[in-house]
Symmetry: C2
Subunit: 254 residues, 2 copies
Amino acid sequence: MGRNIAALGTVTQPPGNVPKYYLVKRHLLEIIDALPPGSPVAPERVLTAELRTSRTTVRQALAELVGEGRLVRRQGSGTFVAEPKTAWPLSMASFSEQAAASGFQPGTRLLSVETVSADDDIARRLGLAPGANVHRIERLRTGDDRPLAVEVCFVSAARFPRLPDRMRSAQSLYEVFERHYGVVPVDAEETIETAAAPPAEAALLETDTGAPMLVLSRHTFDDSGEPVEWVRSWYRGDRYVFVARLTRPRPRRR
Amino acid sequence: MGRNIAALGTVTQPPGNVPKYYLVKRHLLEIIDALPPGSPVAPERVLTAELRTSRTTVRQALAELVGEGRLVRRQGSGTFVAEPKTAWPLSMASFSEQAAASGFQPGTRLLSVETVSADDDIARRLGLAPGANVHRIERLRTGDDRPLAVEVCFVSAARFPRLPDRMRSAQSLYEVFERHYGVVPVDAEETIETAAAPPAEAALLETDTGAPMLVLSRHTFDDSGEPVEWVRSWYRGDRYVFVARLTRPRPRRR
DNA sequence: TACGCGCATTGGACTAGACCAATTTACACT
DNA sequence: AGTGTAAATTGGTCTAGTCCAATGCGCGTA
């Protein structure tokens, strides 16, 4: 068509400054909403010409849509409408149980197990003296053989001797905790934040450096209130939505 | 100094492709980590010259650091090390209670109340026929007079007649539910995802269009399992971390 | 001293284009 | 018809620069 971006949609928003790339984004959104997942979208250079803008501006709009899980891009191939996001439950259940609850075949790839000296933050979280030895366990969690999350877990080396060896043959960390050490995690504090994917995590999760991620940090305690583990998990923000079930704590007051 | 980016740090990561902007980001991170909040960081053009790269590349690194809450930028003024993020609890408590628990003086600004026809998604969520009337309540929640979140709430118009009038003088929606309609929300399903800030939300939250956000959607039910409200809240991803407390549901099995 | 105007500084948005990498397509040759 | 290679297509990274908007500083003036 070749109509100018200025003619796109109606700007009902704040008086002046809606960036041009955002008009492009809304325009693309209208197109995407009408197409089923997998449908191809016009290539960058075509959009650039059609909308009379620079490639940079088009790319900024596309990048946001990719980050929000609306589009998928494949170099050399094209841009396509993405599948809807997948729900990921927040619960005390083990990874395998959570995955199963979401209808995935869970899998784990052990990336590295090493024993290192804890930095101040980790030591404090695990109730150890600064510099104490901790096991650092890095794993790639998969669902239906597709990468799902990268987890880095820290536990006290003194409390869990020979854990590295045991990890190499085990699937579930919680099972090892219980079987070999009699430790049962009973509650946890989870924090959720956004971050940009570092190159290593991006590669493992098959996305791009800088892609928006959901970072879930879990601080787990056993029944006596002792800290058990400190885990930091990276999930692709364009693929997953976290779901939490909340119940009113007390009957009522007032 | 004028040292080239190629000399920065050591690339132990994946074989080849670490983008140049990421080297800049790591370099800046080292600087930031050693400075207290509020400290100024060198302006873009200086970094561009020092690191022998383009302004675009420097800006990409800065943008990610801003999105992760490590830096704050003020046009005409400069770039500064940011305050640490603030924890925001996920619980069934009302906004005021949650804010108080986080040490904020809670406030609410009613942006708009209107009665509209529900789209299919909203109707389904509230258990209504498609096109049924719903009240749409848009509010800006504040903590210590600073914008905290933008909330858009939908409730059935048939179930809550004259709610718009009552809202205008009320602070707490839950209080109105209980006092005037005898409805007490008891549990909820919350979903958390990432998104880029639209211009309107960005303006209200005093950030930039496209800034990474945490979007919290809450589907609330009363004691008989009836849906009460559907709320979508936008929080600045660079400022807040969501915190959830989890407890193992069952005593144990196996 | 206090005020106000103008300029320099700084971040924000956008452009046009170069070069690279992955993929797909087209075509020549067997 | 099948196969392999070259070319075209498409997304990814980076550069160099323009113009604008908000802020803050300094200087001249009242």
